[in-house]
Symmetry: C2
């Protein structure tokens, strides 16, 4: 668990890298023609985001290269063989993939708010949102192809990016299918979030190892760090959806409940005999009241479902940190461990 | 121009490769879990398609390697350096990208029929169609990453695939924008179809050159062969939309007119003073009568707009064939030239 001092340190590490990542997004994804397409493509990226995944890319690179965080230019980052790669571009690539999935997911889930602003399909229209997502998809691959890595490593990074995207699609398909399915086991839910959410953290952590030419053992361990901490991140997201006020969430609190999204919390509650389907009457997030959400959350809390989810997230986080032992013992590695803690202690 | 004998030869060359490509699609894109996602992803691929782009991949490879068409296993195809690559997998990758664009375009264009069957968003639903397209997108990259090419060549093929997809998105965005824009110049239209349609033919022709390790001059010439013949293909598609009966088209004849899609034909007619917007009253393809389409086409024919488009397609085709002169003079090269002719003489 983090205390205030370590949380401040993590947030500072994320903030420092976020500024560089934001500047790099502007460079890597310029407002090209057709302008409306690129405006729509950049819209969610410009609406904010903590840049956690790019931070993982950069920190993992720093730990592998055993350099002091922030001491080396991410655009010409030293590899094991002595050449350099553009690690910042790889970090942006991962963030751009994340944005593509948000845009398409919001269409599929009919979520009209994202990061406190209208989703792309609301701010523009569904066609533009589909196409903006498709554009981000390929530009992310273009970026990952141009990191100046040794070709074998560059190709392997591309392969990982592609298989990661396939898994994300599979996870989203499972998530959608769960909404209209009978009993779902917690393990099925965990498999779904691993595919839908955690594999991109896995790719964020493993890609720098691939690009820098680290041993397979390091690639695998970092991938598993990302999978475990990314799964914990998603469970925390589910908890936050229920416990954080709407204005901080940037969307309606409890919208998962309104939209009948199953989470580890609702699955546990069902096992405790709670009639989850009757917890809220509203059928769309704009129709629900805070009182209704508060009452539903109380019931989930009373049967221990929120505690259950938190404990599962903590267990995954502890496991994620053990994977880091393969890295040199340095500040970047410690920050990666603290970041894993932060993913499940963050309040928004 | 083709005569009946050369057309029969081209169709035979396409048919032979289509069988191999179809078998390879089954192998490369198995019905994995979640099954409904993969069913939807394979749906358009299984609904037919001539496999013209994969045929271009395979023929270009055979011409570069200077082997008799069909004499060498496409799965272990000889490169310039003596190693082998899986050219069939690269061919499938290009076809899978084509399928992804069809699925997403049909959502955006609200086209409900494709290859004579309901479009994916009709046969399933819009969310599934978005996700099926996204899945094909990444699996195409996974396939292209696994051709066993020299890593530098493999990475370059991935780079071309990514930039091709970005251009296709840009072209689709321009196409959509044209529907609600004022005067469009023929050159703007040609730029749009180059992006939307021709670049994938360019990638189909250039990718084997990249994977086999051919000289840059060969890569460039084949790319331009694909761009020119692919542009001509799209112009012919626009002509066919107006001139071929619905049952042969697999969708309503004249649907471009109904949907206010600008083509080289309508742009030319506007320049001749035709009030294109008043040619048909119906606003959706299911509402239009054949008589209404026939009358509209007569007017377009009378002012020479269909002849104009045909001549432009012929000019592009002649130029495309000249790019092939960089290849060894062999049967595969002759078939590529005949295929370019076929693309603008085909009746469906």
């Amino acid at each position: 668990m983090t205390n205030d001092a370590t949380e401040a340190r993590v947030l500072d590490a994320v903030r420092q890298r976020r500024e560089l990542v934001n500047a790099a997004i502007d460079e890597e994804l310029p407002l090209a023609e057709p302008e409306r397409l690129y405006e729509a493509s950049r819209y969610i990226l410009e609406a904010g985001g903590k840049r956690l995944r790019p931070t993982v890319v950069l920190l993992a690179g720093e730990s592998i290269a055993d350099v002091d965080p922030g001491s080396v230019d991410y655009r010409s980052f030293p590899t094991v063989s002595g050449s350099t790669v553009d690690l910042l571009r790889a970090a942006v690539s991962i963030e751009v993939i994340q944005s593509f999935t948000l845009i398409h997911d919001d269409i599929m889930d009919e979520d009209d708010l994202r990061r406190g602003v209208p989703a792309v399909h609301e701010a523009y229209d569904t066609s533009t949102a589909i196409l903006a997502g498709d554009t981000l998809y390929s530009t992310a691959f273009e970026m990952m192809a141009d990191t100046d890595a040794d070709p074998a490593n560059g190709l392997e990074a591309m392969r990982m990016l592609a298989s990661t995207c396939t898994k994300i699609c599979e996870g989203q398909a499972l998530d959608v299918a769960f909404e209209s399915r009978g009993e779902i086991l917690p393990d099925e839910y965990l498999e779904m979030i691993e595919l839908k959410t955690a594999v991109l953290y896995g790719a964020a952590a493993a890609t720098p190892a691939i690009l820098l030419g680290a041993d397979d053992e390091v690639v695998d361990a970092l991938y598993r760090y990302g999978i475990d901490s990314g799964s914990a991140f998603q469970i925390q997201d589910d908890v936050l959806d229920l416990t954080v006020p709407s204005e901080e969430l940037g969307k309606q609190r409890g919208s998962d409940l309104v939209e009948d999204k199953e989470t580890l919390i609702t699955l546990h509650a069902r096992q405790q005999g709670v009639d989850v389907d009757e917890l809220v009457d509203a059928e769309i997030p704009t129709d629900v009241t805070d009182a209704e959400i508060e009452s539903a959350v109380s019931k989930l809390r009373d049967v221990g479902s929120i505690t259950y989810a938190r404990e599962k997230a903590e267990e995954l986080t502890e496991r994620s940190k053990r994977h880091l032992e393969v890295l040199p013992d340095n500040e970047a590695r410690r920050t990666l461990a603290e970041l894993a803690d932060y993913l499940i202690t963050r309040g928004y």
